[in-house]
Symmetry: C2
């Protein structure tokens, strides 16, 4: 709990009740893929009632501070990933199925980066099913 406060502070986030609860859940040591909706459901299940607006704010704040990765996989919801290491994903739209690929993937044969641009990150999505 004080760990969490310190953790938030060290990421320039004021440790409010809500952020402490959310961070406590998200960063419990197990990698998680969540959406605003799924996070809200999970917190409610644990008797922590936090408004959706705050959940959106918090996910955004955590993302902006590098505590979460944002995944754009579907047009109807945004996923966040608590694993912020460089990694990739298996994804099944049909089954809402999302698994990290932590193995070291190599992408070979990339052409020259467009003029005046820098590569920020390379994302590999392995789409399953159809």
């Amino acid at each position: 709990m004080n760990d969490i406060k310190q953790f938030l502070r060290s990421n320039s986030l004021r440790p409010t009740k809500q952020r402490i609860v959310i961070a406590g859940y998200l960063f419990d040591g197990t990698d998680k893929h969540i959406t605003a909706e799924s996070l809200s459901t999970e917190l409610t299940k644990r008797k922590h009632i936090i408004s959706l607006a705050t959940i959106y704010n918090t996910l955004h704040d955590f993302y902006e501070n590098g505590l979460l990765k944002k995944l754009i996989l579907s047009s109807d919801r945004v996923y966040f990933d608590t694993n912020t290491d460089d990694h990739h994903h298996f994804y099944s739209e049909k089954d809402q199925f999302l698994i990290d690929i932590n193995k070291n993937i190599k992408v070979n044969g990339l052409p020259k980066t467009p003029k005046n641009k820098k590569i920020n990150k390379i994302e590999v999505i392995v789409h399953l099913d159809k």
Copy 2:
């Protein structure tokens, strides 16, 4: 024009006025990345007034019939790509910048596909800037 009609028919799409216009624009030989909005703007510029609903319907129909690729890159709009070959993309969210990578990319080191799943496609997105 009759080419386009045949083209639509051969893809089990009834060649309506609107579809002919849209297909004529989309499949003119040059690869295009479009959104419903950008397509609407482009058609309006060419004096072809087609309702947004029809534009959405048509993009969806073309996609369902394999004439377009769908690209989920941003949470606030869906891109379609007239290049349906296996290929990848450079993408800059900041600049709404999207370029095909047609070179042969190889992704090495993928782990085993999850049980009972089949790989549908592998998508590589090279994110530029930040």
